[in-house]
């Protein structure tokens, strides 16, 4: 596979995955806030700020946001770099330049997806289309991942795309955890009881589409520690960081077949990070959650950079 094309496919995977997480974050936070347990978390400003925070655009406490503007910027504004429309556009452009390698099914799906978003009425979206739009985006992303899995040979091409998807997934899950921890801190003190406190953790789990799984696994109301353990360390949860790391590890082994990967190769970094997580305890993480988040984001970024050096340099 050509280095240039590998780079494109890697980013196609990342952009698809990123679109889904943004869409779901919007959907879950907006709609769960409608009947949230207290004034603070019910406030529209709180939710809009949470959305922007998750996208890396935190706002000042006293800023008053305009709902339609914020939604437009996150959903359909081609001038905002983080918007869903720009992510899908980038995914499609990357797919375009690797069109000979991906299946017709994948290309057709990504093309339909792009046109769905391109033609979505902006007025409708900001006024009453949020649910329909985000649910569609999530669904199209799932269709795409299904087609990626089912219509491609599971060789290096597949491995590159899956590396992109999983590195992005781990990154987004961490960003979501970060945002919801931030929300919980902001809302602290306004909760009267533990039931209310669990609200942010339930929302967090729903943002990762992991709430039902979590209930089944713990059979208890989520707490900050059990939620963190589930989303970071439980390898059986398909949205957990651990699960993503396991997959990244499998896929890098297709790209780098050496038994003992060279020091500082991508395979080496991936293996090291996974080993670290295999023997991590949630208490360690909770001790200093900010530090943990910074470190893991940095390491994921490091892996992505190393891939660029090792495979995409041309």
């Amino acid at each position: 596979m050509l280095s240039r094309v590998a780079n494109n496919l890697f980013w196609m995977g990342r952009y698809i995955e990123r679109s889904e997480h943004i869409a779901r974050y919007l959907n879950v936070n907006y709609f769960s806030s409608l009947d949230a347990p207290n004034e603070k978390s019910q406030s529209r400003q709180f939710v809009l700020k949470s959305m922007l925070f998750m996208l890396g655009e935190p706002s000042e406490d006293h800023t008053v946001l305009n709902e339609e503007k914020v939604l437009f910027n996150i959903g359909l504004n081609t001038d905002s770099y983080f918007s869903i429309i720009n992510n899908v556009k980038a995914a499609r452009e990357n797919a375009n330049s690797a069109r000979d390698l991906i299946s017709t099914e994948i290309y057709e799906a990504i093309n339909k997806f792009y046109h769905f978003i391109l033609n979505y009425d902006k007025e409708v979206f900001v006024k009453k289309g949020l649910y329909d739009f985000t649910v569609n985006v999530i669904e199209q992303c799932m269709i795409l991942r299904g087609k990626i899995r089912a219509t491609l040979l599971h060789d290096q091409v597949y491995a590159i795309i899956m590396m992109g998807i999983n590195i992005e997934r781990a990154t987004q899950i961490i960003r979501i955890i970060n945002a919801k921890y931030h929300d919980a801190t902001v809302a602290k003190g306004s909760y009267g009881d533990t039931v209310a406190n669990s609200f942010e953790w339930i929302t967090l789990l729903k943002c990762a589409e992991a709430y039902d799984m979590m209930r089944r696994f713990y059979k208890k109301t989520p707490t900050s520690i059990s939620t963190l353990e589930f989303l970071v360390l439980n390898g059986d949860c398909p949205r957990s960081v651990m699960n993503s790391l396991n997959q990244i590890c499998d896929h890098i082994n297709v790209l780098d077949r050496s038994k003992h990967p060279a020091k500082d190769s991508t395979a080496f970094l991936v293996g090291k990070l996974r080993a670290e997580f295999q023997f991590k305890k949630v208490e360690e993480i909770e001790e200093d959650i900010q530090r943990f988040i910074e470190q893991i984001l940095q390491k994921l970024f490091g892996i992505s950079q190393k891939m660029e050096e090792e495979f995409f340099k041309f």
Partner: protein, 488 residues
């Protein structure tokens, strides 16, 4: 059964006198070969048909088989106009087209070898020297170069029309980078998706075997000493208007689609940059024009090509398909010598007719052309895509004057041909929601390899969508039709 007025789709179809209609005979009845199709289509109401037509359009759109139109604010994607009513060619007519296409491709190949080596045809005074020396497509860099296995025009696109006399005429040979074959496949796919039932009543040849044959041909011209050649398709990039075709061909052959930046040359061998390091490339199907393939040898400021590629080619370490310099032979001035060229190299009579052509470079013919512009088609010799063509009977007096002056300024640049009456085919016109007669042509795709040849049984039927228009090129607003070649 064949009467038009009983048929809901063709009720309003107007048949003009003097045009050769491929579907309806002089009495207005559907010809035998089309009768079944006529009946099957007639079972649809116009609104059914509109629905099917829209479905087919969506299918093209979703598959991303589009081109960009740059409007005021943003680029829009458009599909190539496609007509759901197919053209049928019976097996006996097809035999003529197929054997004629192969004959021309072979003759052109021998001609190219000759003019880049001994130039016997010039020494024997069959083709005048100044025709070559005045052609900008005659590359001195190719003199004495032996392309692997002696093949120059691996891929030829021959444009053929049916004249009102019922005979097929060749309009031009395209042997640089003829495009359009992906649309042949897409048209078939779209028609199958929309109206699969009609295929039950006809035995049409498949068109999806083009890519496998192309790969066979490319592998057959591998450089010496290579067992399992690595073939690639090189494209100018995703913003090229034919990018869809390039990616389709690479995908259908299962080979890499590369850009110039993905290749490099070391010690006169060509490599591509893969995630596992450099990998040698042996055969390149290039969809980049001659002058852009290697900045060291041709246009120095071109970033599309690969520095050193031509040197590697000259050494025989890589095969380029088509060979550089083939453009000289699809020049419209050379075209007029095709009957002589075929006789000279193959000692055969031409199977397909040439259109009588007047050279403005010859003083006596120039005078005839200048005096009869209203009865002629004037074509620049070295343009592709239907650009610069003037059709005499559609010009105003002042436009005729302008054309006369253009020709006088540079006579070598123009040839003229009598205005052919291209056959017409019922074509669905969106705006009018009805079928109308439109002129069509046919581009055949011929492959030439080492001891191998292949003609795609189908080809691209192009339709001039504007009423009365004779120029069918897609760059001039043309559409296309699925083309069925019937089995014997």
């Amino acid at each position: 059964m064949g009467a038009r007025h009983d048929n809901s789709l063709f009720k309003s179809y107007l048949k003009k006198e003097g045009l050769l209609d491929e579907v309806f005979d002089n009495t207005g009845e559907a010809k035998a070969i089309y009768q079944e199709l006529f009946r099957l289509y007639g079972a649809h109401s116009i609104s059914d048909y509109v629905h099917l037509n829209n479905k087919a359009k969506n299918s093209f759109f979703n598959q991303g088989i589009t081109f960009q139109v740059y409007g005021e604010n943003e680029a829009k994607e458009k599909i190539f106009p496609f007509d759901l009513f197919p053209r049928i060619i019976d097996s006996s007519e097809w035999e003529i087209i197929e054997s004629g296409s192969i004959q021309r491709s072979k003759a052109l190949n021998l001609f190219l070898w000759d003019i880049y080596h001994e130039k016997r045809i010039i020494k024997d005074n069959v083709v005048p020297l100044d025709l070559l020396s005045s052609s900008s497509n005659y590359l001195h860099q190719m003199m004495g170069v032996d392309p692997p296995n002696g093949i120059y025009n691996h891929i030829s696109g021959i444009d053929i029309v049916k004249h009102s006399d019922g005979n097929y005429y060749v309009l031009e040979d395209n042997i640089r980078c003829p495009s359009g074959v992906s649309y042949v496949v897409c048209n078939r796919t779209a028609l199958k998706r929309a109206l699969f039932g009609v295929f039950n009543h006809y035995q049409a040849h498949t068109v999806t075997d083009y890519a496998e044959n192309l790969l066979d041909i490319l592998e057959s011209v591998k450089p010496k000493g290579v067992d399992n050649p690595t073939c690639v398709v090189i494209t100018p990039g995703m913003f090229n208007s034919a990018y869809y075709e390039h990616s389709y061909l690479a995908k259908a052959m299962g080979v890499e689609l590369v850009e110039g930046q993905d290749l490099f040359v070391e010690n006169d061998f060509v490599y591509m940059k893969t995630i596992n390091g450099p990998e040698r490339v042996d055969v390149i199907y290039r969809r980049i024009d001659d002058l852009f393939i290697d900045p060291l040898e041709f246009k120095p400021d071109s970033a599309l090509g690969v520095p050193g590629l031509f040197a590697a080619y000259r050494k025989g370490n890589v095969c380029l398909a088509n060979a550089p310099g083939t453009g000289v032979a699809d020049d419209k001035a050379i075209y007029t010598y095709m009957p002589q060229i075929i006789k000279y190299y193959l000692n055969e009579e031409p199977i397909l007719n040439n259109v009588q052509t007047y050279h403005c470079s010859r003083p006596d013919e120039l005078n005839f052309v200048l005096e009869n512009i209203d009865k002629l088609v004037i074509k620049p010799v070295d343009e592709a895509g239907g650009y610069g063509i003037s059709i005499g009977n559609q010009l105003t007096k002042s436009e005729i004057k302008a054309v006369q002056n253009q020709i006088k300024e540079n006579p070598r640049k123009y040839v003229a041909q009598p205005i052919l009456s291209l056959s017409v085919h019922p074509t669905y016109i969106d705006k009018k929601e009805s079928f109308e007669q439109r002129h069509i042509d046919l581009r055949t795709f011929t492959l030439l390899g080492k001891d191998k040849e292949f003609v795609l049984k189908g080809g691209l039927t192009r339709v001039a969508l504007k009423e009365g228009n004779l120029v069918v090129n897609s760059s001039q607003g043309g559409g296309s039709k699925d083309t069925w070649v019937l089995k014997k």
